[in-house]
C-alpha cells in the first residue's frame, strides 16, 4: 500500500463536452478537485478528449486546472465508451493519478464503470460529498443509498486511482480567473475507426425552448394531493403565471398525472431551483433527497405534521386544490402591478412544460 501511495499522485477530472460545449458539471468538479488537491498538496488535472477541442483548454485552466491533458482526434468526436475508455486508461496508466472524478451524468457514469473495471479499481457512484481523510490521505466519498434512506461513506483503501462520479449541481465551480495559467500536455492515442463496434449516427437535442427541470429556477411540483386532471391544470396555470416548470413526486407520476420525465427525487431528478412549490406532497425521503438544494421551499398540505411541511421554508395548511386558484389570482395581480407584463415573454404550456414563445 505504501508504494501505491507514493506512485499515484494528483486529482484528475474528466472533461465532459459535446461538440465543444462543456457540461456544467465539469467546472464544478474542477472546483471540488481543487479543494481535495489543496488538502493533499497535489495538483489538479483536466482530461480533455475530443475532436478540435483546443479552444476549450484555456477555460479549464481559468477555472482551476493546473494541467490539461489533451487527446484531439476525429475518432473522439462523440463520446463512445469503447474509444474514451481506452484513451482514458492509457493516460491513467502512464501518469498515475490518485483520484479520478467524473460527473454522475449518463456519459460520466458510463465511462467510469468501464474504466474502473478495466483498471480493477474501486468506484463510488453518484457522490454528494467528498473529503480527504487527513490521517490516511484517502478519499472519503459519501453518497445516498437505499433510495436516499441512508448516507454511506465509501473508501477505496488499497487500489488506485480512487474513482468517484459526482452528482451535478452539488459542488461549486470556482470564480473565473482570466489570468490563471497552466500546463498543457498533448498526447496521441489514435484508434482506427474500422476496428470499432459502435458508431454515433446523430445527436438529437431536446427542444432548446423546453426548460429542463434541473435548470429551472421556479418549479411547481404536485403530489398525490393534486388528485386529478383539474389539479394538474391548476399547476400548469401557476407555472404560466410564475414562469416556472411543472414537476411531480412519484405519487403523482404513479397516478399518471405527471410525466415520469418530470419526476423529482431519488428515482427522478435532483433539482436546485430558487423556488420550489410542493402541492400535496407529503415529503417521503425519496422525494426530499432531490430538493435539498432548493433555496426556498413552499409546502401546501392538509397534514401539518408531514415531513414536507416540517422542512419547508414556508408552509401552509390547506387543500392544494383550494389554495392553488387563489395563489394564481393573487400572483397574477401582484406580478402585473410590479411590472408591466406586456413586454415580458408570454409563456405557453406544452405537455406540462412551460416554454417561451
Amino acid at each position: 500500500m505504501a508504494d501505491i501511495e507514493k506512485e499515484y499522485s494528483g486529482v484528475w477530472v474528466f472533461v465532459e463536452q459535446l461538440e465543444g460545449k462543456l457540461a456544467s458539471v465539469t467546472l464544478e468538479l474542477i472546483g471540488e478537485a481543487k479543494k481535495l488537491a489543496t488538502s493533499l498538496n497535489v495538483q489538479v488535472s483536466a482530461i480533455l478528449l475530443g475532436d478540435k477541442v483546443e479552444n476549450m483548454i484555456s477555460t479549464l485552466i481559468e477555472y482551476g486546472a493546473d494541467t490539461v491533458y489533451v487527446i484531439d482526434n476525429p475518432v473522439y468526436h462523440f463520446y463512445r465508451a469503447e474509444t474514451y475508455m481506452k484513451a482514458f486508461c492509457y493516460l491513467v496508466e502512464k501518469y498515475k493519478p490518485e483520484i479520478l472524478l467524473m460527473g454522475a451524468t449518463t456519459t460520466g457514469r458510463d465511462l467510469a464503470g468501464a474504466v474502473a473495471t478495466t483498471l480493477k479499481t474501486g468506484l463510488t457512484a453518484d457522490c454528494t460529498a467528498l473529503e480527504i481523510d487527513q490521517d490516511k490521505k484517502i478519499l472519503l466519498a459519501s453518497r445516498p443509498a437505499f433510495g436516499g434512506n441512508i448516507m454511506a461513506t465509501i473508501v477505496c483503501k488499497d487500489h488506485r486511482p480512487q474513482m468517484a462520479t459526482v452528482r451535478p449541481k452539488v459542488m461549486k465551480k470556482l470564480t473565473h480567473d482570466f489570468n490563471r495559467t497552466g500546463k498543457v500536455i498533448r498526447e496521441v492515442f489514435a484508434i482506427e475507426e474500422g476496428t470499432l463496434k459502435t458508431m454515433v449516427l446523430r445527436v438529437v437535442k431536446n427542444n432548446a425552448e423546453n426548460i429542463k427541470l434541473e435548470d429551472a429556477n421556479i418549479i411547481i411540483s404536485g403530489g398525490r394531493g393534486i388528485q386529478n386532471e383539474y389539479g394538474v391544470k391548476l399547476l400548469n396555470e401557476l407555472a404560466t403565471v410564475l414562469g416556472g416548470v411543472v414537476a411531480g413526486s412519484r405519487g403523482a407520476v404513479e397516478k399518471n398525472l405527471i410525466d415520469n420525465k418530470q419526476q423529482v427525487g431519488q428515482t427522478g431528478q435532483t433539482v436546485s431551483p430558487k423556488l420550489y412549490f410542493a402541492f400535496g406532497i407529503s415529503g417521503a425521503i425519496q422525494h426530499t433527497v432531490g430538493i435539498q438544494g432548493a433555496e426556498t421551499i413552499i409546502a401546501i398540505n392538509t397534514d401539518s405534521e408531514c415531513p414536507m411541511m416540517k422542512m419547508a421554508t414556508y408552509s401552509i395548511v390547506g387543500d392544494a386544490l383550494k389554495i392553488l386558484p387563489k395563489l394564481i389570482d393573487v400572483f397574477k395581480q401582484a406580478l402585473s402591478e410590479t411590472k408591466d407584463l406586456e413586454h415580458r415573454n408570454t409563456n405557453v404550456i406544452r405537455e406540462g412544460v412551460v416554454t417561451n414563445e
Partner: protein
C-alpha cells in the same frame, strides 16, 4: 436470437425504514421485489423474442430466496433462469459482482451463444449503474447504457440501432451484436403476464450454480475482491423547518406573495 437478462432482487426502497437508534436500515421491514428497471429489461427481451424468435434467459446473483426473482421473470415470459448463489459471493461490490455475473454468463455461452445482454440501468437499492458496464467490459462487448428505445435490428449486418439518453437529449447509436444494453423505464410499458406463464413460473426451478461449478479466482469475489468498502453510514442531513404561515387563506396568500414576488420577477424565464 438468444437474449440474456441480468436481474437483481432488491428490497422495495420505498418501504424501507431507518432505525433511528442505530442508524442502520431495517431491511426486514421491506418486501423484496424485482429491481424495477430490470423488469423493463425482461419485458424488452420478451418483446424482441416475440418478433424474431429465439430464447430469453435470465441470470441473477443472490441468496437462495433470489429464486423468486427468476420465477417472476418466467412469469413475464423468460424461458430459463440461472441463480448464482454462494457464501463466497457475499459482500461483493460492483467490481466483483460484474466478475461473478460475467463468469456465469460465460458458462451459459459455452453451450448457447448470446446475441444480446440486457440489464436495468441501475438497481434501486445501490443506484450505482456500474454493474452493466462492468459486465460488458469483462465480456469484451460494446456497452450501451441508458437506452430509451430500440429503433431497429438488422440481423443480416448483425447491428442494432438505438436511442441512448444523454444530458441534453438522446443520441442515436449503431452497435454490432453481441452487445450489452442497459434500459431506462421509458423503453416500454410492462404488460400483464398470461396465466400460462404464471403456472409455469410457480413450478419453475432455476439452474443453481455455486462456486464449485466454476474454476474461479476467489481473490476477485466477495469482500476480498471488492476494492471499495463502507467506512460509515449516517442519516441524511435534512433541512430544518421554517415558518408555518397562519391566518385565513387570503391572509396567508397575501403574506406569501409579498415575500416572493420580488424574487420571482428576477428568476422568471
Amino acid at each position: 436470437m438468444h437474449i440474456l437478462v441480468c436481474v437483481k432482487q432488491v428490497p422495495d426502497t420505498t418501504e424501507i425504514k431507518l432505525d433511528p437508534k442505530t442508524n442502520t436500515l431495517d431491511r426486514s421491514s421491506a418486501p423484496t421485489i424485482i429491481n424495477s428497471y430490470d423488469a423493463h429489461a425482461v419485458e424488452e427481451a420478451v418483446k424482441i423474442k416475440s418478433h424474431f424468435g429465439g430464447k430469453v434467459s435470465v441470470i441473477t446473483m443472490g441468496p437462495l430466496q433470489a429464486q423468486d426473482v427468476i420465477k417472476k421473470c418466467i412469469e413475464m415470459g423468460a424461458d430459463d433462469g440461472y441463480l448464482l448463489s454462494d457464501r463466497a459471493f457475499a459482500g461483493s461490490d460492483t467490481l466483483s459482482t460484474s466478475y461473478i455475473l460475467s463468469m456465469g454468463i460465460k458458462k451459459i455461452m459455452e453451450k448457447n451463444s448470446i446475441d444480446l445482454v440486457f440489464c436495468g440501468k441501475q438497481a434501486i437499492d445501490g443506484d450505482t449503474a456500474q454493474v452493466g458496464p462492468g459486465i460488458a467490459c469483462r465480456l469484451g462487448i460494446p456497452q450501451l447504457t441508458y437506452v430509451e428505445s430500440i429503433e431497429s435490428f438488422d440481423l443480416e449486418r448483425n447491428v442494432v440501432v438505438l436511442h441512448r439518453k444523454i444530458d441534453d437529449g438522446y443520441e442515436v447509436v449503431q452497435a454490432k451484436l453481441p452487445c450489452l444494453i442497459t434500459v431506462e423505464k421509458d423503453i416500454n410499458e410492462l404488460s400483464f403476464s398470461p396465466l400460462t406463464n404464471m403456472i409455469k413460473a410457480a413450478r419453475y426451478q432455476a439452474v443453481s450454480w455455486s462456486i464449485n461449478d466454476f474454476t474461479a479466482d476467489l481473490s476477485q469475489m466477495g469482500l476480498k475482491g471488492s476494492p471499495t468498502s463502507v467506512r460509515r453510514t449516517f442519516p441524511p442531513a435534512l433541512r430544518t423547518g421554517g415558518e408555518l404561515l397562519k391566518g385565513s387563506d387570503d391572509e396567508i396568500i397575501e403574506t406569501l406573495v409579498n415575500k416572493l414576488k420580488g424574487g420571482i420577477l428576477q428568476w422568471q424565464i
